[in-house]
Symmetry: C2
Subunit: 266 residues, 2 copies
Amino acid sequence: MNILIAGLGLIGGSLAKALKPNNKIAGFDKEEVLEYALKNNIIDEKAERFDIYDFVIAALPPLTTIDFLNNNKFKDNSIITDICGVKEAIEKAIVKRNYNYVGCHPMAGKEVSGIKNSSEQLFYGACLIITENADTDIKSVETVERIYKQAGFAKIIKCSAAYHDKVIAYTSQLAHIVSNAYVKSETINNYEGFTGGSFQDMTRIAALNEDIWTDLFFLNRENILKELDKLINSLKIQENALLKNDRQKLKEALKNGRIIKQSINK
Amino acid sequence: MNILIAGLGLIGGSLAKALKPNNKIAGFDKEEVLEYALKNNIIDEKAERFDIYDFVIAALPPLTTIDFLNNNKFKDNSIITDICGVKEAIEKAIVKRNYNYVGCHPMAGKEVSGIKNSSEQLFYGACLIITENADTDIKSVETVERIYKQAGFAKIIKCSAAYHDKVIAYTSQLAHIVSNAYVKSETINNYEGFTGGSFQDMTRIAALNEDIWTDLFFLNRENILKELDKLINSLKIQENALLKNDRQKLKEALKNGRIIKQSINK
């Protein structure tokens, strides 16, 4: 299939690499990125126009995705997907047009960005979330599934955009908020040698792109605020137990967390 | 050398396995653990008494370590080390006796415990922290370094117990508090498929042993409270920016974290 990938960053570049063996890939990005992609055989050609492709992947930040999908001309009945970490805001913002939109969120990433860090193996074994609503074209979803499976995805979950946004606020966005906050102690300057892995795990995703993530957080504001509030409350329960020298309360709080963690590992 | 390892859990068992090729290892633990250790060739013999060993490793939880070191008879001028995650409280609680105490904290671990999860490779490439004070016997420290290098440690840091406790409150203990608190959202029941790794990293160490960690947290209470307070404040800065729809403030907070993380990665 002829596929247009708009945005050849970590995700777009990795999708290009993973889909190229079975498809013809046209790329759209800044000139220097396109030159790199052509030189390294990541794409087959530069896209000169957008309205000749049956399958378009907008691998762009959220606000850029909305702009891209609303303000360009696409082929009649073409399938257009995105990769955004929020789905309801994208779904609502896209004006109903001549194409079939299928919301996607590939559950794969790295703590580094850009085409130079892209990898054809990024999606091997990963989960793809597809969001659907009453207007979603089922045939288009089937095509999206078929194409994405070629990229190595091992599992596909279909749900509403609202459900996606609620869960992802907790599993991904809150984790980025915590990791980014965790590094803000001056003790960090002395960390070397003083960790067996906990510190690295906790701070792996701290260096997020503040432009993209500010947009993501505000596009999923209500869900994130709920999760952040719950986390701060849980931390305060432990803090208060320590402050009040209440060993039993601290032990109960820790036990509670241990039991939850063990139950999801089963 | 004849080495006694008291406590054959994850760390003690791993030390036994790693040191056995070059030393004769006597073990002390519950009978069933000793039987397992003998049967699987992890130790050479059960320790019948403690006062015949030149080198003793107390691989025990903090309060048990204090009790073990204060209430048993050891050989004159023997070297006794521990593995506790707090050092000042241990140092202060041990009554000056006929042996040379050298405080140790191996910077290696797993999210699982017990001798069955122990591994002779646990310490390969890891850092060993040795705490010293004015009373520390330098010859004993040299022996500790020599023995522990046999277990695979690649780096040794020597510092005061107070310095250790301040840094470890941040790099390890706070991470355990956060991980344990992170799992306490009911959204956790829907997490499967909705993560590319951030959630797993954030919750890897959540299932801690509440008995041991309650002791550890209270033995390093002041340092932990300081770090926990800083983290909650950093989280609240992000929460407030979201609550007040202040994009610029959220972006600045995220940028601040990104720059710190990037600076420690250099």
